[in-house]
């Protein structure tokens, strides 16, 4: 069974391309840099291409935007390094730096789609960017729980930390309901809820509600399957171990750290050339 739903691509057109076009340009340039690094005995095992592919290919578009942002920042740093390299050792890195600087121009491509059409940013308290970075997305897109049968869980992600405090938190200061309190009586309701109830204006008739529910249900896609198991965060879950030297578990940080290592290797290369 295949899950074909991808909420981030709904009604969004082909806006995934800008991320990849910038990445492709960076990758091509960095591939040249890789040759120098290899010649200098670089200790870096993964190419920029591989890192970018892993970091971006399976991400929802809003996370891909975060990755792109990280790429832009690192690309800026690398451009400056390459300028120094060009000055110091007379290489042709100036062309590459120019190319990298081109990635920093916002007019280089269309805006990156950050969600379904019409989905505006939430209230100030809705810190979606923070949430995006907090979540774990496995590079191959599989469900986070090891060993679980997960047929193509597209877009399936999980919270990264266990914070029991939040389980019982009450956002509005409303007392946490106790067992049985779900059937709260009207006399228990705070004034604000009474007011809300008086303002009901979107009620459907029973038949209209049933009709709409049926239409919504029929519009849903195929089941993921085994959801009861997949939805529960296992208490003893340990995220996959990152590559040696990278103590991270999210693609943005991994990308930043790896490119930082690449930068350091370039610096070492410069140092060795100067020593010749």
């Amino acid at each position: 069974m295949t899950c074909t739903y991808n909420v981030m691509s709904a009604e969004s057109g082909q806006n995934g391309r800008p991320v990849r076009s910038s990445v492709d340009a960076l990758t091509a340039t960095a591939a040249d840099s890789q040759g120098i690094i290899d010649a200098a005995g670089s200790e870096i095992d993964s190419s920029v291409e591989e890192i970018v592919r892993v970091a971006v290919s399976e991400l929802p578009r809003d996370e891909a935007a975060a990755v792109e942002s990280a790429v832009r920042e690192i690309a800026g740093d690398m451009a400056r390094v390459m300028d120094e390299l060009a000055d110091d050792v007379g290489t042709t890195f100036d062309e590459q730096a120019t190319e990298l600087r081109g990635l920093l121009q916002p007019d280089d491509h269309d805006p990156v789609d950050v969600g379904p059409a019409g989905l505006e940013p939430g209230p100030a308290k809705h810190d979606s960017s923070d949430a995006d970075l907090r979540r774990i997305t496995l590079p191959d897109g599989t469900v986070i729980v090891p060993g679980a049968a997960a047929p193509d869980p597209v877009g399936w992600e999980a919270t990264a930390t266990v914070d029991d405090e939040h389980i019982s938190d009450d956002d509005d200061g409303v007392p946490q309901p106790h067992a049985g309190s779900a059937a709260a009586t009207a006399q228990d309701e705070p004034e604000e809820f009474k007011e809300r109830n008086e303002n009901r204006s979107t009620r459907r008739s029973a038949s209209q509600r049933a009709k709409e529910a049926r239409e919504i249900w029929l519009g849903n896609g195929n089941e993921i399957g085994n959801l009861a198991h997949e939805i529960l965060v296992e208490p003893n879950y340990e995220p996959p171990k990152p590559p040696p030297g990278l103590d991270v578990n999210d693609p943005v940080t991994a990308l930043s750290m790896t490119l930082a290592a690449l930068w350091e290797a370039l610096a070492r290369s410069t140092h060795r050339r100067r020593g010749r």
């Binding site: 989905l119 308290k125 992600e157 930390t161 389980i167 946490q176 979107t202």
Partner: protein, 148 residues
């Protein structure tokens, strides 16, 4: 016990668990609903979502985002919640029907139960109000294009 009552009881249990923030019990209820087959409870659950969201003072993307944030925060570390999909489900029940089109049925039902539980938790309505009348069952013939 008739099957309908069993399904109603399971849906009720899931809503109560969601309202209480009891993730393990909620997952257990989801497992039982899953074994029953989502087609037996799906429309009932979506109807509950419609009833619950009718209690909101307003609808729209910002409300969907805020409601999703509250659910996600309450279950952080205990349940995996994909915010964009939950927002799409809420919007599909309120201001933009197409937003939830194509969401996997089991994910739609499960997230809907969490949203209903959240609104019960915040006392927008009671469990009885959320559940209303009980199940409407669909047959496989209703899914001519979605068979495996």
């Amino acid at each position: 016990m008739p099957e309908e009552q069993t399904v109603e009881k399971l849906v009720r249990q899931a809503v109560v668990d969601a309202s209480r923030g009891d993730a393990p019990s909620f997952a257990s209820a989801i497992g039982r609903l899953e074994r029953q087959g989502w087609d037996k409870s799906g429309i009932t659950i979506i109807e509950s979502l419609l009833r619950a969201t009718e209690e909101l003072p307003s609808v729209g993307p910002a409300v969907a985002a805020e409601l999703t944030r509250r659910v996600s925060d309450r279950f952080r570390g205990s349940l995996k919640i994909n915010r964009p999909i939950m927002e799409a489900i809420i919007r599909g029940a309120t201001d933009d029907r197409e937003a939830s089109h194509g969401v996997p049925r089991d994910l739609s039902a499960t997230y809907s139960l969490l949203v209903v539980g959240q609104l019960v938790h915040e006392r927008y309505l009671t469990v009885d109000e959320a559940l209303g009348s009980m199940p409407t069952e669909v047959s496989p013939a209703d899914f001519p294009d979605q068979g495996d």
